[in-house]
Every structure is written in C-alpha cells, then in structure tokens.
Symmetry: C2
Subunit: 407 residues, 2 copies
C-alpha cells in the first residue's frame, strides 16, 4: 500500500492528517485518487453531493459498490477513511485487468464523512441514501471562521439545495463493501488482524438531572443530607451491571457529570449526568435504557432526591446483510485463518447505504492500541496488506453472487 | 427582641439582610448598635481592626466579653451575627442596672466576620486574636468592582498595616461568650430550642484527581476501559461509610466533581473531586483523611486508573472551655429544661478568641429548616427570647466565677 504513504506525505503534516472536507488539502486528496485510478478504464464523476465516483462498466448495469472517504478530522490519522478508498483502487484495478466484469463495479469516495468542519457527519452518503432530511439545519451551520456550509460546499461544486439528486447514484446499486480500521481495541486484544462487522450499534443518549438540596458541609449531619451527587455516583457504577447483564457487546458510558454549586463547602444540589448506551440489538438497547431509568428512580428514592430523564439523541441499530457477512467471513478466514464478527461502535458511510436498503457489509482491520482521530493512529503494515487481500476476495465472492442473480 | 425587627427594617430589603462589612449599610448597623447601648454607661471604642467595643467598667480590669457581628452576607438572614450582639445589649443593660459588676463587662461587635466582600472571613476577631498573619494576601484582595481591601477598610477608619494593634483589646479578657443561630438542622430535628457548642470542627479539605484514559463510547468494550469517573463515584459513596465508622458527628462532603473531556461520546479521562471532612477530634479527623486516601488508592487499583491527592486547606479543631461549657449547660437547662451539646460546623469569631487562649463558649439557638445565609433564615420568636435568657444566665454564672477567681 505504497499509495497510503504517498497520500500521507501529500496531505499531512507533523500534527497528522489534514484532509478536512471542503478544503484545498481535501481537493489535493481527490486529485491524488483520480491519478491512482488512471489506466483502469473507470470513468470519473462527481455527484450533486460532492461524492467522487469511478465506474468500471460491466455486462450489467447492476453495480457492486466499494467505498470509503478521503476526508479526515484535523490532526487525524493516516488510515481513517482513505485506507478503504485506496484498497478499493487496488481491487478495481485487479478486476479491470481480469476483463469486463459481469456487473458494473464502482468505487466511491464519500464527501465529508467526518463532519469535522461543520459538525455534521456522513454528508455525502446521507445525500445519496436520501436520508439527508435536515437541509434547513445544514444551511445554518457555520465553521469556526463563520463561513456557512452552503458557501463552503459551493466552492467545491456542490449546491446544497440540489444535493439530494445524488440519490440517483444508488439506483442500480446491488451491494456495498467497505473496509475500515477498527478504531477500537477488540481485534488487537484477540490478536486478530481482521474482523467482519455485523452492523452499527443503535445508540441511546440521555441526560439524567439529579436534584437534592444544597447544605453546609459543616453544619449538616450525614443523615440530614439530600446529596444529588450520590445518585449520579450510583448510576455511574450501576451502568456496568447493565452492560454485563444484557451482554452481547453492550456498552454504557457516563461521559460526564456537572455538579452545582460545585463548591467544597456545600452538599451537591444538582448533578447533570450524561449517559450513552449502545447495542446492536434494538430490544436489548431498549432494555438497557429502561434498566438505567428504573435504577435512577430507585437511587433517587434511596437518596431522597429527584431525578429527571431526557433523551438527547437516539438511532436504531443498523444490521448488515447476512449473505455478505458470510462472504466476508470466508474471505477473512482465507487470508488470515481466523475470523471474528463484531459490531461497529462508530457510525460509517456503510450505515447510510445499508439504511437505503442496499445489501452491505464492512471489514475491520486491527487498530494499534485502539487509537483513531489522532496522529498516533496506526495499523501494522502486514495487516494492511491482509486487509486489501480480504477486500479483494470479498469483492470476487460478491461479484459472483451478483452475476448469478443477474443471470 | 424588638431591636432585631428594627434592624431588619433599617438594613434589609426584599432580598434579605444587606449589612455587608465595609459598606454604608454596615455603618448604619453600627450606628444602630451605638444607639441601643445608650444609657447603659458603657464606653464605646472602635479598635484598629474596626471592631466596635462597649465597655462597662467593673471592680476589676479583668473582663467578661460578650460578642457577635453586625455584618451579614449579601441577601443574608436577619439573625446571623446580629442576634448575638443585640442579645448582648440586653445582657449588658441588665448587668448595668444591677450596679457596678465585680469584673469589667465588654460587648464587642467584630468587624467583617463573613468576609462577604473580599472572601476573607473573621477579619476583626483574627486581628484581635493575633492570628491575622496574612497581611500580604489581604493587601491583594479586591472586591467585584476592583476596589482593594486596604482602600475599602481605610474608608471605615482601618489601616490594614496597623490592624494587629487590636490585640491589646484581649489583654484583660478572662472569658468570652457568644450566642449564634445554629445554621444547621440538629436542634430542630431534636425539637430543642437551645444547645451548647463544644467547639468548632477541625477541617481537612482535599482535591482528589483521578486519571484514566479517554476512549470512544462506541468502540471500547467495557472491560477495556479506564474510567476516571468510576474512582470519583466510588469515593463519593464511600465517604458515608467513613463518617459512619468514625462517628462522633463526623461529616464528609464531596462538594463537586469536574469531568474531562466531559462529553457524551467519551469515557472520562480526568475527574477532579473535592472532599471536605470535619470532626471535633483531631485524631478522628486524621483517621477520616487517611481512610479516604487509602480507599482512593484501593479504588484506583481496582479501576486501573491513577489518583493524586492534594490538601487544599486544613484547620485543627478548636475546643471550648470545659468550665464554661458546664455553665452553659446549666443555663440552657434552667431556661429550656433540656440541654444538648453539639459541635459547630461553621467557624465563628469565638474560634479565634478561643485560639488566643481565652476561655470561650457558645450557645446555639435552633434554626428553622437549618437555613442560613438566605432571607429564608428564621428562628421562632419564643426561641429567640429563650436564647437571650440563656445568655443572660450564662453571663451571670461566668461573672460569679470570674469574681471568685479575681478575689
């Protein structure tokens, strides 16, 4: 994967990758991708949402899609997003060398997966999937310098009002494949180079507001207190029991507690606690949330305080295609001996494509120390090589399957 | 206690008492006190630290002091501080009516007990006690409008550099009595009007800084986490066990936790936790602190995180005089039937006087709902009357004791 090193030189600095979408460095990365695709015979097209497509026409209009994203966060890692695209280049080149494929093969670099500049991720893939339903909010977004999103994307040829026309790109899509670094510690801890992604977690984000009574730290005996922090502390510890009891990869995170008045001489009157819960199974996720809410009510009663619950945000789990998961498992076993199925905690463009009803699967390659979104992000060179081989085998199996179904 | 109501009219508004030290409203309160003392034969003097003294000469120079403070916090209560002084007026007036007392009797209104304007409490009493050793820091203090403390006190006749000369006021002091509202819920919960204060709590204030590892809430399995909040949560709950095990009125308060990065999508990397521990017994207090520190180390090991401890501030317990505690007990029983001995959580001017080696005791009168430093602060009228009677009886007993020792 010499191209990855070249791209790092071209678009990174001493602080890491700087391929933030809708910037000149990002354009440089798009030019680089164009150059990489030369000689494959694939035709380039940039759609109404800024997604960059390379189409290798096959015997049928039905299309196998391979995708990723060239954009990064500021001071990002050298692999997040672009590994997928550049591995796809090698796969498309190999397919082209084998002659006209039975179905069309398309490589896509989605625009602005990270949302680093405007805080809205999955821009290009959500437009193509038709799930971009927040045009009004997008119009109001500004970057740190006060530049509005519509003006920024316009500079790169995108008219926000027309972005949903990118939906036509998925008309003949029959399958979608994406390789990504894991961005977590699971494969490394199992000493496995590769894994098959079952889908993306459903997420429930909540705010619990605990209300007790401010009271003087010196003059208020312990049994006369109504301490809001006690409720938050109990819940911060209990969420581990929720995750353990529900199992299946359940995760619960209390990402922060804000205490008021927050001074050393007063019992805490108010504690605002954030909770993030994730699971691949919608029913399990619902159970996790109700366990947290029931426990919160119990803790409030125990502590003679009050608790109020608000949902901040939620998304359903998105499950990938069973058949493609099977192909991915075979491909990983063929190149690495052992496969492992795992959910994805972070969202990916693949989730948008899957939501649009297109059979989808992802491969994960091990991340060293689970780090991502930092220049410390890394993956062993031999694992990168294996990941390209696995994607290639997965593409071959998927092409054969599509050819059978097209015939 | 009609004078209390008059003072409230004169120095309060719809938000509560506004007798903040070193302001015109405070001067109005000092004028009011002067008027109240007229006709008693006591001579007024304002010392180098701004303390207002009224001296009723007796057969001996040795002096019984009765004190309190006229200043309040902004939007404060109608009783905090001034009850003591105005009850003292009645006691001095009664003694004066009885003829020349065997020892000198002095009423003192200490300057700036609350420290509301500059954040430094016990100004006048610490100067008189000689424990004001922070002149350099005092010089640097500014109020919200940028006025420096030395300039503000100068406007009220105090030269900061000379404030310690107020030490001469305690030269002949033989005993100090102070009545105060409890500012806590203990007496109300026992349905008792009055209590005898054993001394002021020793205090240990600490900051525990917990350090784990920030990690993505979606991609990091539960068993791979190093969650700083878990350490803080365990300690926030464990401090109740410390207080229960040590007993004797021990209190522990985790007054606030600050989490970083403090976002919903990340495991907490750093949690800064404040801890306030108080006890009337120095050894018990030391044990409470070491229990907290040992537990913190244990929790850090359990959670695979680190913890760092810093002392923010500490003060030794200050115990009041055994003989005077006995007199106070008798006085309270005589007027209220039942007495109760309790420590004081908050500091008071009495602590400074006691630290200076002068036999000291305080009486507490019940606070409704334990509230103070708010306009909601209140005490039943009949309890206020009982408190003045108890202070009067205590003064009588103390005068007799001093007369015996002088003779």
């Amino acid at each position: 994967m010499h191209a990855l090193e070249e791209l790092r030189e071209l678009t990174g600095d001493e602080n890491g990758a700087q391929r933030v979408a809708w910037t000149n460095v990002w354009e440089r990365a798009r030019d680089f991708l164009r150059a990489q695709m030369q000689g494959t015979g694939a035709e380039e097209e940039i759609d109404e949402a800024g997604n960059q497509w390379f189409t290798l026409r096959g015997d049928s209009e039905r299309a196998l899609l391979i995708g990723g994203h060239m954009d990064s966060v500021p001071n990002g890692g050298w692999l997040d997003g672009c590994l997928n695209v550049l591995a796809g280049v090698e796969v498309v080149r190999r397919i082209a060398e084998d002659g006209t494929p039975p179905v069309t093969v398309r490589l896509v670099s989605w625009a602005d997966e990270e949302g680093a500049r405007f805080g809205r991720s999955l821009f290009g893939s959500s437009a193509a999937a038709g799930s971009m339903q927040d045009q009004e909010e997008l119009r109001a977004l500004k970057d740190r310098d006060g530049v509005a999103l519509p003006d920024a994307v316009q500079e790169h040829g995108v008219d926000l009002d027309g972005a949903l026309a990118a939906r036509s790109q998925l008309e003949h899509a029959a399958a979608y494949l994406e390789l990504h670094i894991e961005q977590g510690p699971v494969l490394e801890s199992m000493d496995l180079p590769l894994g098959v992604v079952l889908g993306t977690f459903g997420v429930e984000r909540s705010r619990f507001t605990w209300r007790g009574q401010a009271a003087h730290a010196g003059s208020t005996p312990m049994d006369k207190r109504r301490d809001a922090l006690a409720g938050a502390a109990k819940l911060a510890l209990y969420i581990r029991e929720i995750a353990a009891e529900v199992g299946g990869g359940a995760v619960c995170t209390s990402g922060g507690v804000v205490t008021k008045p927050g001074i050393v001489t007063s019992v805490v009157e108010t504690a605002e606690q954030l909770l993030d819960q994730r699971h691949l199974d919608a029913e399990a996720l619902a159970r996790m949330l109700s366990m947290a809410r029931e426990a919160a009510d119990r803790f409030a009663a125990e502590e003679n305080i009050e608790v109020q619950w608000e949902r901040i945000w939620s998304i359903e789990p998105i499950l990938f295609d069973e058949t493609l998961i099977g192909f991915a498992d075979e491909a990983v076993r063929e190149v690495a001996g052992t496969s492992h199925r795992l959910p994805s905690g972070p969202l990916h463009d693949a989730a948008e494509v899957s939501r649009a009803g297109i059979p989808t699967v992802m491969l994960f390659v091990q991340s060293l120390r689970g780090l991502s979104h930092t220049k410390l992000e890394d993956t062993k060179r031999e694992h990168l090589e294996l990941s390209v081989q696995a994607l290639d085998k997965l593409a071959t199996k998927t092409l054969a399957w599509l050819a059978d179904r097209t015939a």
